[in-house]
Protein backbone atom coordinates (compact mmCIF):
# COMPACT_ATOMS: atom_id res chain seq x y z
CA UNK A 1 0.00 0.00 0.00
CA UNK A 2 1.56 3.30 -0.98
CA UNK A 3 1.86 5.77 1.86
CA UNK A 4 -1.79 5.91 2.89
CA UNK A 5 -0.98 7.36 6.31
CA UNK A 6 0.50 10.50 4.87
CA UNK A 7 -2.39 10.98 2.48
CA UNK A 8 -4.84 10.84 5.37
CA UNK A 9 -2.95 13.44 7.39
CA UNK A 10 -3.32 16.23 4.82
CA UNK A 11 -6.73 17.86 4.83
CA UNK A 12 -8.43 17.39 1.49
CA UNK A 13 -9.31 20.57 -0.38
CA UNK A 14 -12.93 21.68 -0.23
CA UNK A 15 -13.32 20.85 -3.93
CA UNK A 16 -12.05 17.31 -3.30
CA UNK A 17 -14.45 16.93 -0.37
CA UNK A 18 -17.38 18.05 -2.53
CA UNK A 19 -16.29 15.67 -5.30
CA UNK A 20 -16.07 12.84 -2.75
CA UNK A 21 -19.54 13.18 -1.31
CA UNK A 22 -21.13 13.82 -4.70
CA UNK A 23 -19.57 10.66 -6.16
CA UNK A 24 -20.38 8.60 -3.05
CA UNK A 25 -24.05 9.64 -3.14
CA UNK A 26 -24.25 9.06 -6.90
CA UNK A 27 -22.85 5.56 -6.47
CA UNK A 28 -25.62 4.80 -3.97
CA UNK A 29 -28.28 5.84 -6.47
CA UNK A 30 -29.08 9.09 -4.66
CA UNK A 31 -28.80 11.22 -7.81
CA UNK A 32 -26.48 13.86 -6.39
CA UNK A 33 -25.15 15.06 -9.73
CA UNK A 34 -28.66 15.58 -11.06
CA UNK A 35 -29.47 17.57 -7.94
CA UNK A 36 -26.38 19.73 -8.41
CA UNK A 37 -27.59 20.59 -11.91
CA UNK A 38 -31.14 21.28 -10.84
CA UNK A 39 -30.61 23.04 -7.51
CA UNK A 40 -27.53 24.87 -8.81
CA UNK A 41 -29.68 26.29 -11.57
CA UNK A 42 -32.47 27.29 -9.18
CA UNK A 43 -30.03 28.94 -6.78
CA UNK A 44 -28.39 31.00 -9.49
CA UNK A 45 -31.23 31.71 -11.89
CA UNK A 46 -34.56 31.45 -10.06
CA UNK A 47 -34.03 32.37 -6.40
CA UNK A 48 -33.06 35.93 -7.14
CA UNK A 49 -33.82 39.37 -5.68
CA UNK A 50 -35.86 40.24 -8.78
CA UNK A 51 -38.62 38.14 -7.18
CA UNK A 52 -38.74 40.34 -4.11
CA UNK A 53 -38.46 43.43 -6.31
CA UNK A 54 -41.60 42.37 -8.16
CA UNK A 55 -43.42 41.91 -4.85
CA UNK A 56 -42.38 45.38 -3.68
CA UNK A 57 -43.37 47.09 -6.93
CA UNK A 58 -46.80 45.48 -6.77
CA UNK A 59 -47.24 46.54 -3.14
CA UNK A 60 -46.34 50.13 -4.10
CA UNK A 61 -49.06 50.38 -6.74
CA UNK A 62 -51.77 48.07 -5.38
CA UNK A 63 -53.04 48.95 -1.87
CA UNK A 64 -55.14 45.76 -1.64
CA UNK A 65 -52.12 43.61 -2.43
CA UNK A 66 -50.05 45.57 0.07
CA UNK A 67 -52.63 44.85 2.76
CA UNK A 68 -52.62 41.12 1.93
CA UNK A 69 -48.83 41.07 1.83
CA UNK A 70 -48.53 42.60 5.29
CA UNK A 71 -51.21 40.28 6.69
CA UNK A 72 -49.91 37.01 5.18
CA UNK A 73 -46.73 37.29 3.18
CA UNK A 74 -46.54 33.66 2.12
CA UNK A 75 -50.02 33.65 0.59
CA UNK A 76 -49.52 37.03 -1.09
CA UNK A 77 -46.25 36.09 -2.81
CA UNK A 78 -47.84 32.80 -3.89
CA UNK A 79 -50.42 34.92 -5.76
CA UNK A 80 -47.51 36.23 -7.82
CA UNK A 81 -46.36 32.68 -8.53
CA UNK A 82 -43.50 32.77 -6.00
CA UNK A 83 -42.95 29.65 -3.91
CA UNK A 84 -41.19 29.17 -0.60
CA UNK A 85 -39.71 25.94 0.80
CA UNK A 86 -42.06 23.84 2.91
CA UNK A 87 -40.24 24.59 6.15
CA UNK A 88 -40.60 28.37 5.64
CA UNK A 89 -44.12 28.40 7.01
CA UNK A 90 -44.45 32.14 7.53
CA UNK A 91 -43.26 35.22 5.64
CA UNK A 92 -43.38 38.45 7.61
CA UNK A 93 -43.09 41.59 5.51
CA UNK A 94 -41.62 44.56 7.37
CA UNK A 95 -42.80 47.96 6.24
CA UNK A 96 -40.32 50.82 6.31
CA UNK A 97 -41.63 54.35 6.92
CA UNK A 98 -39.85 57.72 7.02
CA UNK A 99 -39.31 57.09 10.75
CA UNK A 100 -38.72 53.31 10.82
CA UNK A 101 -35.92 51.29 9.21
CA UNK A 102 -36.20 47.50 9.42
CA UNK A 103 -33.12 45.36 8.93
CA UNK A 104 -32.87 41.56 8.92
CA UNK A 105 -30.11 39.22 10.00
CA UNK A 106 -29.47 35.72 11.32
CA UNK A 107 -27.03 35.73 14.22
CA UNK A 108 -27.04 31.92 14.65
CA UNK A 109 -26.46 30.91 11.02
CA UNK A 110 -27.57 32.72 7.87
CA UNK A 111 -31.26 32.07 7.30
CA UNK A 112 -33.15 34.15 4.73
CA UNK A 113 -36.26 34.00 2.59
CA UNK A 114 -33.90 32.99 -0.21
CA UNK A 115 -36.50 32.08 -2.80
CA UNK A 116 -37.91 35.61 -2.54
CA UNK A 117 -35.00 37.94 -1.81
CA UNK A 118 -32.25 35.77 -3.29
CA UNK A 119 -29.50 33.79 -1.60
CA UNK A 120 -27.79 35.97 0.95
CA UNK A 121 -24.71 37.94 -0.10
CA UNK A 122 -21.33 37.04 1.37
CA UNK A 123 -21.29 39.83 3.98
CA UNK A 124 -24.66 38.73 5.41
CA UNK A 125 -23.09 35.37 6.33
CA UNK A 126 -19.86 36.87 7.70
CA UNK A 127 -19.04 36.98 11.39
CA UNK A 128 -18.87 40.79 11.41
CA UNK A 129 -22.46 41.38 10.31
CA UNK A 130 -23.89 38.59 12.45
CA UNK A 131 -22.13 39.71 15.63
CA UNK A 132 -22.52 43.46 15.33
CA UNK A 133 -25.81 44.32 13.63
CA UNK A 134 -27.97 43.45 16.65
CA UNK A 135 -25.83 45.43 19.07
CA UNK A 136 -24.59 48.46 17.11
CA UNK A 137 -26.99 48.63 14.21
CA UNK A 138 -26.69 52.35 13.54
CA UNK A 139 -22.92 52.24 13.24
CA UNK A 140 -23.00 49.11 11.11
CA UNK A 141 -25.54 50.63 8.73
CA UNK A 142 -23.52 53.84 8.51
CA UNK A 143 -20.38 51.87 7.68
CA UNK A 144 -22.37 50.15 4.94
CA UNK A 145 -23.38 53.50 3.46
CA UNK A 146 -26.77 54.04 5.11
CA UNK A 147 -26.46 57.05 7.40
CA UNK A 148 -29.88 57.31 9.04
CA UNK A 149 -31.13 60.51 10.68
CA UNK A 150 -31.15 60.28 14.49
CA UNK A 151 -34.96 60.27 14.65
CA UNK A 152 -35.30 57.12 12.53
CA UNK A 153 -35.99 54.09 14.73
CA UNK A 154 -34.07 50.94 13.81
CA UNK A 155 -35.76 47.55 14.17
CA UNK A 156 -33.48 44.56 13.78
CA UNK A 157 -35.07 41.16 13.05
CA UNK A 158 -33.02 38.11 14.01
CA UNK A 159 -34.12 35.06 12.00
CA UNK A 160 -33.90 32.48 14.78
CA UNK A 161 -36.83 30.28 13.70
CA UNK A 162 -38.33 29.27 10.36
CA UNK A 163 -40.30 32.49 10.03
CA UNK A 164 -38.75 34.43 7.18
CA UNK A 165 -38.58 38.18 6.69
CA UNK A 166 -38.53 40.64 3.82
CA UNK A 167 -38.25 44.41 4.13
CA UNK A 168 -40.74 46.51 2.19
CA UNK A 169 -38.71 49.61 1.34
CA UNK A 170 -40.31 53.01 0.91
CA UNK A 171 -41.22 54.07 -2.58
CA UNK A 172 -38.84 56.86 -3.51
CA UNK A 173 -40.03 60.30 -4.53
CA UNK A 174 -39.92 60.99 -8.24
CA UNK A 175 -41.38 57.63 -9.28
CA UNK A 176 -44.98 58.79 -9.74
CA UNK A 177 -46.65 57.18 -12.73
CA UNK A 178 -43.92 54.57 -13.26
CA UNK A 179 -44.88 51.10 -14.47
CA UNK A 180 -44.48 48.13 -12.12
CA UNK A 181 -41.59 46.86 -14.25
CA UNK A 182 -39.75 50.15 -13.98
CA UNK A 183 -40.42 50.34 -10.24
CA UNK A 184 -39.14 46.80 -9.76
CA UNK A 185 -35.94 47.71 -11.58
CA UNK A 186 -34.85 50.09 -8.81
CA UNK A 187 -35.47 47.66 -5.93
CA UNK A 188 -32.17 46.14 -4.79
CA UNK A 189 -31.47 43.05 -2.71
CA UNK A 190 -29.79 45.24 -0.12
CA UNK A 191 -33.02 47.23 0.30
CA UNK A 192 -34.95 43.96 0.82
CA UNK A 193 -32.50 43.10 3.63
CA UNK A 194 -32.83 46.62 4.98
CA UNK A 195 -29.27 47.90 4.71
CA UNK A 196 -30.09 50.39 1.93
CA UNK A 197 -32.85 52.86 1.05
CA UNK A 198 -33.93 53.52 -2.51
CA UNK A 199 -33.78 56.45 -4.89
CA UNK A 200 -35.36 57.07 -8.27
CA UNK A 201 -32.82 56.48 -11.04
Amino acid sequence: MPDTNRAVQRTASVEARVDAIQAALDERGLKASEAVEELGHLAQEKWIPENGARVVARAWVDPEFRKRLLANGRAAVADLGLAMPKHHRHLVVLENTPKVQNVICCTLCSCTAFTIIGLPPDWYKDLEYRSRVVRESRTVLREMGLDLPADVEIRVWDTTADTRYMVLPERPAGTEGWSQERLASIVTRDSLIGVARLEAR
Binding site: I21, Q22, C109, D158
Partner: protein, 204 residues
Protein backbone atom coordinates in the same frame (compact mmCIF):
# COMPACT_ATOMS: atom_id res chain seq x y z
CA UNK B 1 -25.21 24.60 23.27
CA UNK B 2 -23.29 27.77 23.96
CA UNK B 3 -21.31 27.33 20.77
CA UNK B 4 -19.12 29.55 18.68
CA UNK B 5 -21.97 29.91 16.17
CA UNK B 6 -23.91 32.10 18.61
CA UNK B 7 -22.45 35.33 17.28
CA UNK B 8 -25.08 37.94 18.19
CA UNK B 9 -23.58 40.74 20.28
CA UNK B 10 -20.04 39.37 20.40
CA UNK B 11 -17.58 42.24 20.47
CA UNK B 12 -14.28 42.75 18.73
CA UNK B 13 -15.29 42.14 15.13
CA UNK B 14 -14.43 44.86 12.63
CA UNK B 15 -16.20 46.46 9.70
CA UNK B 16 -18.60 44.40 7.63
CA UNK B 17 -16.85 43.48 4.40
CA UNK B 18 -19.61 45.05 2.38
CA UNK B 19 -19.70 45.60 -1.35
CA UNK B 20 -22.74 46.66 -3.32
CA UNK B 21 -24.34 43.83 -5.27
CA UNK B 22 -22.13 41.25 -3.51
CA UNK B 23 -22.67 37.73 -4.79
CA UNK B 24 -23.78 34.67 -2.85
CA UNK B 25 -21.30 32.33 -4.54
CA UNK B 26 -17.63 32.84 -5.33
CA UNK B 27 -16.65 29.45 -6.74
CA UNK B 28 -18.37 26.56 -8.53
CA UNK B 29 -17.78 24.17 -5.59
CA UNK B 30 -19.89 26.48 -3.40
CA UNK B 31 -22.87 26.09 -5.71
CA UNK B 32 -22.40 22.33 -5.55
CA UNK B 33 -22.03 22.21 -1.76
CA UNK B 34 -25.20 24.26 -1.37
CA UNK B 35 -27.13 22.05 -3.81
CA UNK B 36 -25.91 18.84 -2.19
CA UNK B 37 -26.96 19.70 1.33
CA UNK B 38 -30.36 20.95 0.08
CA UNK B 39 -30.77 17.71 -1.87
CA UNK B 40 -29.90 15.65 1.22
CA UNK B 41 -32.62 17.48 3.18
CA UNK B 42 -35.07 17.03 0.32
CA UNK B 43 -34.56 13.27 0.11
CA UNK B 44 -34.76 12.94 3.89
CA UNK B 45 -31.18 12.05 4.82
CA UNK B 46 -31.48 14.67 7.57
CA UNK B 47 -33.62 17.66 8.52
CA UNK B 48 -32.78 21.37 8.73
CA UNK B 49 -32.32 21.30 12.50
CA UNK B 50 -29.88 18.41 12.28
CA UNK B 51 -28.11 20.33 9.52
CA UNK B 52 -27.82 23.50 11.60
CA UNK B 53 -26.74 21.59 14.68
CA UNK B 54 -23.94 19.77 12.84
CA UNK B 55 -22.54 23.19 11.86
CA UNK B 56 -22.71 24.28 15.50
CA UNK B 57 -20.80 21.16 16.54
CA UNK B 58 -17.80 22.05 14.38
CA UNK B 59 -14.54 22.62 16.20
CA UNK B 60 -14.56 26.38 16.98
CA UNK B 61 -11.24 26.95 15.25
CA UNK B 62 -12.53 25.28 12.12
CA UNK B 63 -15.85 27.14 12.33
CA UNK B 64 -14.19 30.56 12.54
CA UNK B 65 -11.82 29.97 9.65
CA UNK B 66 -14.19 28.07 7.35
CA UNK B 67 -16.21 29.95 4.76
CA UNK B 68 -20.00 29.71 4.91
CA UNK B 69 -20.16 26.96 2.29
CA UNK B 70 -17.33 25.01 3.90
CA UNK B 71 -19.49 24.96 7.03
CA UNK B 72 -22.44 23.68 4.96
CA UNK B 73 -20.22 21.03 3.44
CA UNK B 74 -18.84 19.95 6.83
CA UNK B 75 -22.36 19.51 8.16
CA UNK B 76 -23.36 17.46 5.11
CA UNK B 77 -20.29 15.22 5.43
CA UNK B 78 -20.70 14.82 9.19
CA UNK B 79 -24.35 13.80 8.95
CA UNK B 80 -23.73 11.40 6.05
CA UNK B 81 -21.07 9.67 8.16
CA UNK B 82 -23.10 9.69 11.39
CA UNK B 83 -26.16 8.28 9.68
CA UNK B 84 -24.19 5.54 8.02
CA UNK B 85 -24.81 6.79 4.48
CA UNK B 86 -21.10 6.95 3.62
CA UNK B 87 -18.20 5.81 5.84
CA UNK B 88 -15.61 8.43 6.67
CA UNK B 89 -12.85 6.20 5.28
CA UNK B 90 -14.53 6.16 1.89
CA UNK B 91 -14.83 9.96 1.85
CA UNK B 92 -11.15 10.30 2.77
CA UNK B 93 -10.10 7.79 0.16
CA UNK B 94 -12.12 9.53 -2.52
CA UNK B 95 -10.96 13.00 -1.42
CA UNK B 96 -7.32 11.94 -1.14
CA UNK B 97 -6.86 13.50 2.28
CA UNK B 98 -8.45 13.89 5.67
CA UNK B 99 -12.02 15.14 5.88
CA UNK B 100 -12.71 17.26 8.98
CA UNK B 101 -16.04 16.51 10.63
CA UNK B 102 -17.98 18.07 13.49
CA UNK B 103 -17.82 16.72 17.05
CA UNK B 104 -20.34 14.19 18.31
CA UNK B 105 -23.77 15.36 19.40
CA UNK B 106 -25.00 15.58 22.99
CA UNK B 107 -28.59 14.52 23.82
CA UNK B 108 -31.53 16.72 22.89
CA UNK B 109 -34.70 17.43 24.86
CA UNK B 110 -38.46 17.58 24.37
CA UNK B 111 -40.83 20.53 24.75
CA UNK B 112 -41.01 22.29 28.12
CA UNK B 113 -43.38 20.49 30.49
CA UNK B 114 -45.68 23.48 30.73
CA UNK B 115 -46.09 25.92 27.90
CA UNK B 116 -48.15 29.04 28.04
CA UNK B 117 -50.05 30.72 25.26
CA UNK B 118 -49.19 34.42 24.95
CA UNK B 119 -50.86 37.26 23.13
CA UNK B 120 -49.54 40.47 21.63
CA UNK B 121 -48.61 42.96 24.35
CA UNK B 122 -47.76 40.31 26.96
CA UNK B 123 -44.52 40.79 28.82
CA UNK B 124 -42.36 37.66 28.69
CA UNK B 125 -39.02 36.51 30.07
CA UNK B 126 -36.64 34.11 28.35
CA UNK B 127 -35.89 31.19 30.66
CA UNK B 128 -32.35 30.60 31.94
CA UNK B 129 -32.01 27.36 29.99
CA UNK B 130 -28.58 25.91 29.28
CA UNK B 131 -28.60 22.75 27.19
CA UNK B 132 -25.80 20.65 25.68
CA UNK B 133 -27.67 20.04 22.41
CA UNK B 134 -29.33 22.15 19.75
CA UNK B 135 -31.29 25.24 20.72
CA UNK B 136 -32.47 28.24 18.71
CA UNK B 137 -32.23 30.72 21.55
CA UNK B 138 -29.41 33.19 20.99
CA UNK B 139 -27.45 33.63 24.22
CA UNK B 140 -28.01 37.38 24.21
CA UNK B 141 -31.71 37.02 25.13
CA UNK B 142 -31.26 34.44 27.91
CA UNK B 143 -32.98 35.75 31.05
CA UNK B 144 -34.07 38.95 29.28
CA UNK B 145 -37.54 40.45 29.21
CA UNK B 146 -39.41 41.61 26.13
CA UNK B 147 -42.88 42.17 24.72
CA UNK B 148 -44.79 39.75 22.49
CA UNK B 149 -45.62 41.23 19.10
CA UNK B 150 -47.14 38.22 17.31
CA UNK B 151 -47.37 34.44 17.15
CA UNK B 152 -46.11 32.27 14.28
CA UNK B 153 -47.50 29.00 12.93
CA UNK B 154 -46.25 25.92 14.81
CA UNK B 155 -42.80 24.64 13.85
CA UNK B 156 -40.91 21.47 14.78
CA UNK B 157 -39.24 22.06 18.16
CA UNK B 158 -35.53 22.41 17.26
CA UNK B 159 -34.14 21.12 20.57
CA UNK B 160 -35.88 17.81 19.84
CA UNK B 161 -35.98 17.81 16.04
CA UNK B 162 -32.17 18.04 15.74
CA UNK B 163 -31.81 14.92 17.90
CA UNK B 164 -34.55 12.56 16.81
CA UNK B 165 -36.45 13.20 20.05
CA UNK B 166 -40.24 13.05 19.82
CA UNK B 167 -41.95 16.40 20.42
CA UNK B 168 -44.93 18.50 19.51
CA UNK B 169 -44.66 21.34 17.04
CA UNK B 170 -44.97 24.66 18.79
CA UNK B 171 -45.28 28.32 17.78
CA UNK B 172 -42.62 30.95 18.12
CA UNK B 173 -43.38 34.37 19.49
CA UNK B 174 -41.98 37.45 17.86
CA UNK B 175 -40.60 39.12 20.98
CA UNK B 176 -39.41 42.71 20.91
CA UNK B 177 -36.43 43.54 23.10
CA UNK B 178 -34.67 46.85 23.61
CA UNK B 179 -30.97 46.68 22.80
CA UNK B 180 -30.25 48.84 25.87
CA UNK B 181 -31.73 46.07 28.03
CA UNK B 182 -29.90 43.30 26.21
CA UNK B 183 -26.52 44.99 26.64
CA UNK B 184 -26.91 47.70 29.26
CA UNK B 185 -24.45 50.52 28.79
CA UNK B 186 -22.76 49.08 25.71
CA UNK B 187 -25.16 49.07 22.79
CA UNK B 188 -26.81 51.52 20.42
CA UNK B 189 -30.55 52.16 20.81
CA UNK B 190 -32.65 49.86 18.63
CA UNK B 191 -35.48 47.39 18.87
CA UNK B 192 -34.33 43.80 18.42
CA UNK B 193 -37.00 41.28 17.38
CA UNK B 194 -36.34 37.59 17.93
CA UNK B 195 -38.51 34.57 17.05
CA UNK B 196 -38.58 32.72 20.39
CA UNK B 197 -40.00 29.21 20.77
CA UNK B 198 -42.83 28.85 23.26
CA UNK B 199 -40.83 26.41 25.41
CA UNK B 200 -38.17 29.07 26.02
CA UNK B 201 -40.59 31.64 27.46
CA UNK B 202 -42.34 32.37 30.74
CA UNK B 203 -44.65 35.20 31.73
CA UNK B 204 -42.78 38.19 33.17
Amino acid sequence: MDGIHDMGGRQGFGRVRFTQGATAFHAPWEVRANALYAHAVRIGLFNMDEYRHAIERMDPRHYLTASYYERSLTSLLTLCVEKGVVPREELERRAGGSVPLASASAPGRGNASSRERFKPGDSVRVKLDSVPGHIRMPGYIRGKTGVVVSESPAYPFPDAHAHGVASEDEPTYDVRFRSEELWPGSSEPALVHVGVFQSYLERA
